[in-house]
C-alpha cells in the first residue's frame, strides 16, 4: 500500500475528468478510490485528487473534511463503525460498543496497536431491523451479540494476517 492509487486508475480518472463539463463531480469518487486502495486519504491524496481532476486542493479538502466516511487521518486496516443511533441504542448498542472496546483494547477514535482496527461511532447504518449493528469496511453486521462480535473479529484478524503475509 505504498502508492496512493494505481497509475491506470489515475489515468482513467483523468480521462473521465477531461470528458465531462464538471470534473468536481468526481471528487468524492476519487477520494473513495484512494481510500479503498491506500486505506485513508493523506494530504498527498488530496493533492493527487486536485491534480488529477484539475481542481483546487482547497476544493477537495472542503469536500473531504465534510464527509465522515472519508478518513483524513491514518486508520487501521479495518475500520469498525458502530451504530449509536436510536434503534441500535434502544436494544443495546452501548453494551456492544463496550464489548468492542474491551475486546480491542481501544476507545472510540483509536486504532489498535497492531494497526488492525480503528473503532469509530457512526449514525444509523440503515440496518435498524437487524439492530444492534456495526459496519466493518463496507460490510454491515447486524443482530450483534458479544459472541458474534468475537467471531467476526477473529475472522477479520485471520483475513488481515493473510493480507499481511501476501
Amino acid at each position: 500500500m505504498t502508492e496512493l492509487l494505481p497509475q491506470e486508475q489515475i489515468d482513467s480518472f483523468k480521462a473521465r475528468a477531461a470528458a465531462i463539463a464538471h470534473p468536481h463531480e468526481l471528487i468524492v469518487d476519487l477520494l473513495r478510490a484512494i481510500q479503498a486502495h491506500y486505506g485513508w486519504v493523506p494530504d498527498d491524496g488530496v493533492l493527487l485528487t486536485a491534480a488529477t481532476l484539475g481542481v483546487l486542493p482547497i476544493e477537495v479538502e472542503e469536500v473531504a473534511t465534510f464527509y465522515d466516511k472519508i478518513f483524513r487521518r491514518t486508520v487501521g486496516r479495518r475500520v469498525i463503525h458502530v451504530c449509536d443511533s436510536i434503534c441500535c441504542w434502544s436494544i443495546g448498542a452501548e453494551m456492544i460498543l463496550a464489548h468492542l472496546q474491551q475486546s480491542l483494547g481501544i476507545g472510540l477514535g483509536e486504532t489498535t496497536a497492531d494497526g488492525a482496527f480503528t473503532l469509530l461511532p457512526t449514525c444509523c447504518l440503515g440496518a435498524c431491523g437487524d439492530a444492534p449493528a456495526m459496519m466493518i469496511g463496507l460490510t454491515t453486521h447486524g443482530r450483534l451479540t458479544p459472541e458474534k462480535i468475537d467471531e467476526t473479529l477473529q475472522r477479520e484478524r485471520a483475513a488481515i494476517a493473510a493480507e499481511v503475509a501476501k
Binding site: D43, L56, P57, I58, E59, E62, T65, F66
Partner: protein, 800 residues
C-alpha cells in the same frame, strides 16, 4: 418599485431590493452577520429576523432572504423576531471566548455590537466550547479560530468575491474551520479584505497586532496613494505612526474592498530613513531658511538666465492643490518649463485620456456591470489591483474578458489571453475601430475578427488600456477605437490605468505643455539650470533613467519637496520635507476624472517607537515634536508663493480662476467624490516614442511594473517589502528553450544598468522572443521603468 411598510414607516425601494436593505433605507438597524451589501444574502446566520404581519409574505422571515414586494407590512420589533435574534446571538456566542480585553478586534467588533443589539446579555450555556488549532496564514493575517462564529463571510469575501483559491471551509456542524489546505501565506493579493469582513477577532491584521486599542486609533477617510484607481481607504494612526489601513466604502470605485498593496502599504509614512528635516547642501536648516534659499536662488537664476531657466516637475502622488500651485509658481516667473510626470509614456497617456474621454471614463462601478471587457496592454494586478476584482464581478455576472498583452496577465477569473507585442497594440486598436483587419495575417484575423463581433454584440462593453505599454499614442488609439465602436444606443466604455493617484490631475494642469523629455533636453542643453521636483524622482521615474541621470547632473540647482527618501531628495541642493497623504488634507483625481478628498489621520513626527527606542514613554523631552517639520505639499508651495496657507482659501482661488476646478469647494471626504467637467487641450505629439532597444544581437527586455511589493511607496513599507519577489525574468517556453533555459533556472541578466541574478519563469502567455523583467527597487532592475524596452543579455548560470 415595490412600496412596503416597515415599523409603520412606508418606503419605496427598487425592484430586487431585499427587506433588510429596505429597512436600512429607513435607517432601521436590523442586526445581521451573513448579509453584506457586496456579498449578498445567503440566509445562514438567521439573525435578521423580522415579522411579516400582512401582505404577500406572512410570518417570521429572514429579512435578507425576502425580496421587497408591494403591500408588505413588516415589524422589526415584534416579540418573536426579538426573541429569535436574542437566541441567534446566544448560539453564536456559545463557543466564543470571553477574551475581549485582549482581543485585537475589541472596539470595532461587530459581534460585540450585535450581542448588545440582539439583547443577549447572560450566558446560559456552560458546556464545553469548541476549540481549534490556528494556522499561520502568513505575514498579513492573524488567525484565532476559537473566536469564530461561523458566519462564512471570510470565505465569501476571499473566494467568491476576490477570487482567491487557497482558503476555504473545512469540516462541518459546529466544527467548521476556515483556513487553507495547508498552513502558509494566503496567496491572494486581496487577502487582507478578510480582516474587514470578519465580524469579530478571528482574522486580524498581523502587522497591526498589539499596537493600539481601537478606541485610541485616529482614523479619517482617505484615498489610497498606491495607484490611479482612487480607492477609498481609512488609515489609522497612533503614536505618530500610521499603523494600519482598512477599506473605505465608495460604491463608484472600490466598493467595499481594497488590495493588499493599499492595505499594507502605509508604512512608507513611518520609514526610518524618511527625510524629515529641511536641508541645504545636505545640512539641516530651519524651514524658513530653506524657503528663503529657494526663493533667493531661483530669483538669481531667473535674473541671470530668464524664467525658462527654471523647470518644474509635479507628480502623480502630490495633491491636486500642490500641483496647481506649482503651475501658479511657474507662471509667476513666466516659466513654461512645467511637466507633471517624469515617465513620458504615463504623462502622455494621462493627458490624452483627459483630453479625449474627459469625465466620461468608466468607473470601477461601471466596469462591474460590463458584459465584455477587453484589456489592451493592461495588467491590473500590477497597475491597478482593484480593477481585477471589479472585472471578476463582471465575470460573475456573465461578462467575457479578453486580455491582449505581450505579458502574461493573471486575473482572478476566466479570461481569453492573446499575446501581442506592445508596439502592435495601437495598430490593433486602429484596426478594430475601423473594422479593417487587413493589416493582420490570416491567423491573427481569425483571432481578432470574432473579437470585433463580440464588441459589436456586447451591450455594455468596456476597453481598458495601460499607460505603461500604450503611452499617449496607444491611449489615443484606444479612445478612437472606443468612439468608433460606440453606437447611438450604447457607448463603448474606456478606462486607462495611469501612473499614480493624481495622474489625471496632473494631466489637467499640464494640458498641452511640454513633456519631461523636452525639459530634460533643455537641462542637457543648459538652457534650464534649476529644477524643482514636487514629490517626484526623475532619477528613477524617467523612462530612460540613464539619460535623466546624465542630464540632471548638469543642474545648478535641484530643489526637492518630498516625503520619501528618494534619490532626488538625497541629491537635492535644497530639500523641503513634505507630508504623506495620511498626514494632510488634499485631493486627487483618479483615472476616471473623479475628484476625491483625503483627510489627515496623524500629524507628522518621529514615531514614538523610534524616539522611545522601544521604551515608553520616551525619556527625552523636547519643545517641539521630533520629526514634525514636514508640511503639506500645498502649504510649502503656498509659502513659497507667499499666499495664505489655508487650504479652503487655496481651493477657492483655484475654483475661481480655473472653471474645471469650480467644484473643489463642494468636495467632501468619505463620499463618492465628484466627476469633473473636463476641458483640456490635447498634449503635443510626443517628441520621442517610448525608448526602444537598438536591435543588436542580444535579447530585448520589456520592463514592467512588478507585483504588489515593487512600487516605490510599497517598497518603503515594511509589511509589503517582506513579500517583494527576488529578481526574475519571464519568457515564453519556446524562447526559453532556444536560449537553453528552463523554468526555475538561475540566469545572469545584463543590461546597461549592470548585472543581476534572476530566476527564470516561463509562461505560455508571453509573446515569444521577449524577456520580461519587473522594476524592482534596490536591485539592478530598479532602472527598468515600466513600459521601456532595453537590450539585455540572458545567460544560464550553473546551479549553486
Amino acid at each position: 418599485m415595490p412600496k412596503l411598510t416597515i415599523d409603520n414607516l412606508e418606503v419605496t425601494v427598487p425592484e430586487g431590493t431585499n427587506v433588510l436593505e429596505a429597512a436600512c433605507a429607513l435607517d432601521i438597524a436590523i442586526p445581521h452577520f451573513c448579509y453584506h451589501e457586496a456579498l449578498g444574502a445567503v440566509g445562514s446566520c438567521r439573525l435578521c429576523a423580522m415579522m411579516f404581519t400582512d401582505g404577500p409574505v406572512k410570518g417570521l422571515q429572514m429579512a435578507c432572504m425576502v425580496k421587497a414586494q408591494d403591500g408588505m407590512v413588516v415589524s422589526s420589533t415584534h416579540p418573536d423576531a426579538m426573541e429569535l435574534r436574542e437566541h441567534v446571538i446566544e448560539w453564536a456566542m456559545t463557543n466564543h471566548p470571553h477574551d475581549c480585553p485582549v482581543c485585537d478586534e475589541g472596539g470595532e467588533c461587530q459581534l460585540q455590537e450585535m450581542t448588545v443589539a440582539g439583547g443577549h446579555s447572560k450566558r446560559r450555556f456552560r458546556g464545553k466550547k469548541a476549540t481549534f488549532t490556528n494556522q499561520d496564514l502568513g505575514p498579513f493575517i492573524q488567525q484565532e479560530m476559537n473566536r469564530c462564529i461561523t458566519c462564512y463571510r471570510c470565505v465569501r469575501t476571499y473566494r467568491d468575491y476576490c477570487g482567491g483559491t487557497d482558503y476555504g471551509v473545512l469540516g462541518s456542524r459546529n466544527r467548521i474551520f476556515y483556513g487553507r489546505f495547508q498552513e502558509g501565506k494566503l496567496e491572494s493579493p486581496f487577502s487582507g479584505n478578510i480582516i474587514d469582513a470578519c465580524p469579530t477577532g478571528v482574522l486580524t491584521s498581523k502587522p497591526f497586532r498589539f499596537k493600539t486599542r481601537l478606541w485610541d486609533l485616529q482614523e479619517a477617510p482617505s484615498i489610497c496613494p498606491h495607484c490611479s484607481l482612487g480607492c477609498a481607504i481609512v488609515p489609522g494612526g497612533r503614536y505618530r505612526e500610521v499603523q494600519r489601513v482598512r477599506a473605505g466604502i465608495n460604491r463608484e470605485t472600490n466598493g467595499f474592498f481594497i488590495c493588499d498593496r493599499g492595505r499594507f502599504g502605509y508604512d512608507h509614512v513611518n520609514h526610518p530613513e524618511r527625510p524629515r528635516q529641511p536641508r541645504i547642501g545636505g545640512q539641516p536648516v530651519a524651514l524658513e531658511t530653506a524657503l528663503d534659499a529657494v526663493r533667493d536662488r531661483i530669483a538669481v537664476l531667473v535674473e541671470a538666465h530668464g524664467p525658462n531657466s527654471i523647470a518644474f516637475l509635479g507628480s502623480s502622488r502630490a495633491s491636486l492643490e500642490a500641483n496647481a500651485l506649482l503651475r501658479d509658481w511657474a507662471s509667476a516667473y513666466g516659466s513654461e518649463q512645467l511637466a507633471y510626470e517624469a515617465h513620458q509614456g504615463r504623462d502622455y497617456a494621462a493627458r490624452t485620456l483627459a483630453a479625449r474621454v474627459g469625465g466620461h471614463a468608466c468607473s470601477l462601478g461601471d466596469l462591474r456591470q460590463s458584459d465584455l471587457i477587453i484589456l489592451f496592454g493592461a495588467d491590473p494586478l500590477a497597475e491597478g489591483p482593484m480593477l481585477a476584482v471589479a472585472i471578476r464581478q463582471a465575470v460573475r455576472g456573465g461578462a467575457k474578458v479578453v486580455t491582449i498583452d505581450p505579458r502574461p496577465v493573471e486575473l482572478p477569473c476566466t479570461t481569453l489571453h492573446i499575446p501581442l507585442p506592445a508596439s502592435r497594440l495601437p495598430e490593433l486598436l486602429a484596426a478594430l475601430g475601423s473594422g479593417d483587419l487587413s493589416a493582420f495575417d490570416a491567423q491573427e484575423r481569425a483571432t481578432f475578427a470574432p473579437l470585433l463581433d463580440q464588441i459589436k454584440a456586447a451591450r455594455r462593453p468596456a476597453m481598458v488600456g495601460g499607460a505603461d505599454l500604450l503611452g499617449g499614442q496607444g491611449i489615443a488609439a484606444l479612445c478612437s477605437a472606443a468612439a468608433d465602436l460606440s453606437t447611438a444606443s450604447r457607448a463603448v466604455g474606456v478606462m486607462a490605468l495611469l501612473g499614480g493617484p493624481n495622474s489625471y490631475g496632473g494631466a489637467l494642469l499640464a494640458g498641452d505643455g511640454p513633456g519631461f523629455d523636452t525639459l530634460l533636453d533643455a537641462i542637457q542643453e543648459r538652457t534650464v539650470r534649476a529644477l524643482v521636483c514636487l514629490e517626484s524622482d526623475p532619477f528613477c521615474e524617467a523612462l530612460d533613467p540613464a539619460r535623466a541621470q546624465a542630464a540632471l547632473g548638469h543642474l545648478e540647482l535641484l530643489v526637492c519637496i518630498d516625503s520619501t527618501p528618494s534619490l532626488a531628495a538625497q541629491r537635492a541642493d535644497i530639500f523641503l520635507p513634505s507630508r504623506a497623504n495620511a498626514e494632510m488634507s488634499g485631493s486627487y483625481i483618479n483615472n476616471e476624472g473623479r475628484l476625491q478628498e483625503f483627510l489627515p489621520v496623524i500629524d507628522p513626527g518621529l514615531p514614538i517607537k523610534v524616539t522611545g527606542a522601544g521604551d515608553h514613554p520616551p525619556r527625552e523631552f523636547f519643545q517641539t515634536t521630533p520629526g514634525s517639520a514636514p508640511a503639506a505639499d500645498w502649504w510649502l508651495l503656498a509659502k513659497l508663493l507667499e499666499r495664505a496657507t489655508i487650504l479652503a482659501e487655496l481651493r477657492k482661488t483655484m475654483a475661481k480662476y480655473d472653471e474645471r476646478f469650480s467644484m473643489l469647494s463642494f468636495l467632501a471626504a468619505g463620499t463618492t467624490g465628484l466627476r469633473l467637467p473636463v476641458k483640456v487641450a490635447l498634449p503635443p505629439v510626443a517628441d520621442r516614442g517610448l525608448p526602444h532597444a537598438d536591435g543588436s544581437d542580444n535579447q530585448t527586455l520589456l520592463a514592467t511594473t512588478g507585483p504588489l511589493g515593487s512600487h516605490w511607496l510599497a517598497h518603503l513599507s515594511a509589511p509589503l517589502a517582506a513579500t517583494e519577489p527576488q529578481p526574475y525574468v519571464c519568457l515564453h517556453p519556446d524562447f526559453a528553450a532556444a536560449l537553453g533555459l528552463a523554468s526555475g533556472d538561475r540566469a545572469r541578466l545584463t543590461t546597461r544598468f549592470g548585472h543581476c541574478h534572476v530566476e527564470v519563469r516561463l509562461s505560455a502567455q508571453m509573446v515569444s522572443g521577449l524577456v520580461l523583467a519587473p522594476q524592482l527597487w534596490d536591485t539592478a532592475l530598479e532602472g527598468l521603468a515600466p513600459g521601456s524596452l532595453h537590450d539585455c543579455r540572458l545567460e544560464k548560470e550553473a546551479r549553486a
